[in-house]
Amino acid sequence: MEQEHINPARPRKVVLAPLDPVHDVGLKLIRRKLVDKGHNVTLLPPDLSPEEIVSRAKSEDPDFVMISRALSYGTSELLARFVDLCDAAGLRERAKLVAGGLSMKPEIAQELGFDAGFGPDTPVEVAVAYVEGEDVDLSNGSRQQTKVDLTAGFTYKFLDSEIGSLCTGIARQLICWANKRTSPGVERAHLRTAMEAERGCSPGYGQKLRSQYASLSSGEVKQWYCTGKPVSHTRPITQKEAGEIQSLSRKAGSPAFPRSQDILNDRNVFVQYGTGCPVMDAYHIYLSTAWGAKGVIHFDPSWGARNEGLLEQAWSHEHDGTVLTLDNLGLIKNGLIPGTMWQVRAHRGLNTPETVVLAHLAGADLTKINIVYGSLGAGTDPERLAVDGVEAMKLAARYNLPYDVVTNEELCGVPAAKAFAGMLVVVTAGVLLGGRPLLQPLFANSPEGMITGFTEHNFVDFNVAKMKVLFSIIDAPIWPGAPVGFLTQTQDRSQSSVMTALHAALALDCGAAAVTIASSDEAYAGGPITAPSRIDTLKATGAALRFFGNGGISPTPKAEAIAHELREAIAAVLRQIAARGDFVSSLYEGLLGDREDGAYPGRSGKGTVSLKQ
């Protein structure tokens, strides 16, 4: 829809007329915007005949006649007659004719002889831009996807001096303890760095290093390095599959963005991917970012956390989780819309430091590290993950890679106060090591919420209290997750989308730097997440943000009371750990979550830590 350039500074004369008995809301919105911009606007009343509209418009000698039609019956005939009447009256010699409204399709308007047609989803700004002579692309929205530093502007200073002092003391003890130790995970991270540096430098590159690497691996991963036998349920990516991602990457260079999702443009909404297949992942990432996701998070298979070692080459996996290799990450990166933020998680298993290396080499923007969750909720031996986690944080600092410190152990039943105490110690260690961590409280109906009654009357107070207490303790970015709404979603996609959207809106309203959302398939375990279910929750989140706008969400006074209670409980946990004098022992002994809470120190990697030579 092109038109000659019109000087927007010159006021235009516009006649607006509803071709309906009653409906003129859209025209009133356009009138308000046009008047605000200094144009001369006449809005005719509803229920005039086309002849009356033409007659009254002619007397105004307008530059534009814009009519709307909401009712669908007889629309084409009515509009065709209107155009004929305008022609007969000589109105078109000077004025441009525009049709819009619920029953309008732009292509039909133009077929009928209008200069432009605006469909029901057209923003008012588009109609105004047309009057002012600006080029208007009605096909799709466009936006410049831009990466954001989620940690910018935060000082990481403790605002709560007692908790700050406790965290600093405990974190120093943890770092000092870990500095004297090493593990196969730490050694493989260094080997991987060396192996990748040698890649392509010589024929049979890194054979010696690979052999060392294999000796530090276990299970099916070791078997692959030694015999070439693929890990169960995996197969190599084919040329055709790699080609499909390359082809998609060309499309991702000029993506189409639905205008309805523009509200997410300045919000940092992340989604998780990990279908097992890099091709399907690439499509899911592409459509999720088109519908408003600012960032995506790589999910690897659960066996990737329990085996020592990571594979090489590109693999497809028949089950949940996409195999973590530099080649797979490279393929996926190719399909990212430029400007998409990308997180590769390294938080929970036996390959934590090496995953940070891969995230860096692949060009990821963020990673995820948490010693406490990985130890108490994800099956890795606490001593091992403490050594690996500290190394991972050192690497992340070296690579200038921010990471979140997630507290999903709450899902096992660990009370928020214990989970937060652990998170704050790890965050403090991260800062002492020169890193830029983000706090990741769980936004969910956690077992604690149900048992204590914190979530009995609403889901707002407990979540708001979590944000309040963390913001009162430390000046650091908060990124609720992961994803928000855990244990509130059901298999009903309407309910699931609403719950996700409300949790996301609440988090952003509370000042979250970012938020991770699930698909509407979150509670469905019968098969892989599908593409439409991803769009469901992105659309719902957009709608919730539109609904609350700048109106905010008000908690009850209970939120303040819970926040106070949480603060006291966090401090009490930290005092116990400080008195114990050993962070890792505290993990084994249940100070950050015991068996009664539902936390069990993991066993993967037990006995693999050694003192440095």
Binding site: E244, M280, Q491, R493, D521, G526, T530, A531
Partner: protein
């Protein structure tokens, strides 16, 4: 190529089915998916209320790692 192979992964069918109880609703739903030609179908959500069930059915055309027939498709 069948239109079905333009589906990226799965196709959901949502409707209200008249039935006597939840189990009958689910069974009817799966029969419907079979009649529509979905071989890999499941009930994602089903809730009884009043004269029948609100049901959401899913037919996976492609699960991850399958040999997708939309490869190389140039979507206009």
């Amino acid at each position: 190529m069948s239109v079905k192979h333009r589906i990226l992964d799965g196709c959901d069918v949502e409707t209200f089915m008249l039935c006597n109880d939840l189990e009958e609703g689910k069974a009817l739903g799966l029969r419907l998916m079979a009649e529509l030609g979905f071989e890999d179908a499941d009930v994602v959500f089903c809730e009884m209320g009043g004269p029948g069930v609100r049901i959401r059915l899913r037919g996976y055309v492609y699960r991850p790692s399958a040999d997708y027939r939309w490869y190389g498709l140039e979507v206009e």
